[in-house]
């Protein structure tokens, strides 16, 4: 079971790492934001899976922090995104 969950974590990791290509390629800000968001969710998924696979409850706290701060960063992104700031 633990091995399978670790494998699952690896698969998620590889998937979102592939999604990084979109960050690198862009072309626009929207695509980069999307890829960053996918990476955030993927990171959370990896942590959650690892927490179960390695029986490390602390990783769940790390996932919780990550989720919280991802939501926070999302707000900052909305507030700071290009196009909005220039109106001030």
């Amino acid at each position: 079971m633990a091995e399978l969950l670790q494998l699952a974590a690896l698969l998620v990791l590889l998937t979102v790492a592939a999604g990084l290509l979109r960050i690198l390629r862009g072309p626009g800000a929207a695509d980069r934001v999307m890829a960053a968001q996918l990476l955030g969710t993927g990171g959370i998924a990896v942590l959650v899976l690892l927490a179960a696979a390695t029986a490390t409850p602390a990783l769940l706290d790390a996932a919780l922090t990550l989720a919280l701060l991802a939501a926070f960063a999302a707000v900052a992104l909305v507030v700071a995104a290009p196009g909005r700031a220039s109106r001030r």
Binding site: L11, V16, G19, L21, V33, G42, V48, L60, A81
Partner: protein, 97 residues
């Protein structure tokens, strides 16, 4: 019983991974930003949701299970906040003034 739960976990987790794969493929392959956005949001939310669902039986307690649910809820909230922004950014980029 435990075997059944383990089976449930695996099915849900790997189904979640499928959504992640589909989302990433969409992000990489779809031609324009708005269709990429559609692919992403579904994958994102359902993928993590299924994984969380699958892990619930493995959580080993009420508190960890609650944490898992909060994690999913937070990810949903973040996605819902950024979604309109991405759509707006995409519109602005597709149709420059």
């Amino acid at each position: 019983m435990s075997l059944l739960l383990d089976g449930f976990t695996l099915v849900a987790v790997f189904a979640g991974i499928l959504f992640f794969v589909a989302g990433t493929a969409g992000l990489l392959r779809f031609p324009d930003t708005s269709s990429r956005l559609h692919a992403l949001t579904k994958a994102d939310h359902l993928g993590l949701g299924l994984i969380v669902l699958g892990l619930l039986p493995q959580a080993g307690g009420v508190l960890p299970a609650l944490k898992l649910l909060v994690i999913w809820a937070l990810a949903l909230l973040a996605g819902a906040t950024v979604g309109p922004l991405i759509a707006r950014l995409a519109r602005e980029e597709d149709a420059p003034p």
